[in-house]
Amino acid sequence: MQKYSVFSLIKNAFKGHKDWEVAWKDPTPKSEYDVIIIGGGGHGLATAYYLAKEHNITKVAIIEKGWIGGGNVGRNTTIIRSNYMHDENGLFSEFGMDLWRNMSQDLNFNVMFSPRGIINLAHSDAQMNAYSRRGNSMRLNGIDAVLLNREEVKKIIPMADFSENVRFPIFGGLMQPSAGTARHDAVAWGYARQADSMGVDIIQNCEVTGFDISNGKILGVRTSKGDIKAKKIGLCVAGSTNILAEKLNMTLPIETHLLQACVSEPIKPILDNVVTFGAGHFYCSQSDKGEMVMGGDLDGYNSYAQRGNLPTLQHVLTEGIAMFPFLSKLKMLRTWGGIMDMSMDGSPIIDKTHIDGLYLNCGWCYGGFKATPASGWTFAHTIAQDRPHELNEGYSLNRFSTGHLIDEKGLGTKTWIS
């Protein structure tokens, strides 16, 4: 594989950029693989990469219905953080933060990881107490957390509404300085390029139409490009999880919902951090191009539409304007919607299933992007060793029936309530 560096860039510039190798091949599927990963998004590509890198399993195929990186990894708000209270989420995400910090070097692909810090704003004394508790829990798990008072927040984001007569005054905030953002497409492409170079077949425009199962054991998949045998199959299909589960006669603790996000026209640098509104659900950062990247609530009803409705967008942006009044002056450049695999406790599932050789990776709700490396790493371990790693033991499929839920937000099963 051609190494990307400033020297290869200069060399290729003299040749008019005509001699670059393709970043990944376009192979026809073989008749059999050791492992098939269904879903060529961030999580699927990362899983294939870590299967090859950590477990020396290279007879692997990624089967993608559309094109790689065309799903939620291509349309998220790029936030990376590990500011969770529960041990399962905190330790898992912080393991991921280490992978993020080294990702550009590891993949030889600039993923533009930018640890600019995230601030969750608090708007009452009670919320400050809750943040103080969460911050302490984070620090016990080795995650950086700083509780900021009103004046400290004002120094960092003076453009927020600090006037006295507002409905939700800013009392302070909880900051994770090591959190940040990354270039989402680069993450998918970086993993794809490295996986391909280690022998993984990336098969695009290939839809899975069914599964070949005998005596409770998986034997292969049926696809639009023919039947493919495999000893092990991993599902990494996010919002399409329920559709494939139906083909497997499985009913899962997952509902598929719609989430919108949007970007404004580009403006000069104003916001250095990721900031979230604490009296509702709104988050905002500024991209390197200058666009304000914003998102918030789910639309709130089951949907596979990949496009949203305006009332939710209006609601979300009302919260944004309450936090940053200057946003009201901006023109909207682009809005989009994607479908989320909402689990019944808001935490993901990375586990084996009752079918021998079939593994499940789903339930990422609206927090899948930041989990990409840790999810791929632990899912690869789960597939290779046929048992979960201690980092994803808590993300079991049967935790719902045994009562070991990881209900970070305390919302219960009503995933559409934000």
Partner: protein, 88 residues
Amino acid sequence: MLHIKCPHCGLRSQNEFSYGGDATIKRPELNKEVSDQDWDNFVYLRKSPRGKHLELWQHISGCRQWIKVERDTLTHEIFKTLKANEEL
């Protein structure tokens, strides 16, 4: 924007309603032995189909009645609305 025809009030905008989830889920019968699996099915497991979906909505900013809506989860087309005690 969704336009939902409340069986009590007529056609209203989505803003007046709040969502209540899958309407086909049945609570296990009271005063009878409930297996863990039955309870699991009721509380956690959802088909979440792509296509026709019968769901509960509440006309929260209108008559406050719970209603059933048959809606396509891919196209958002609404086929039918029913009172809560009516079956398809």
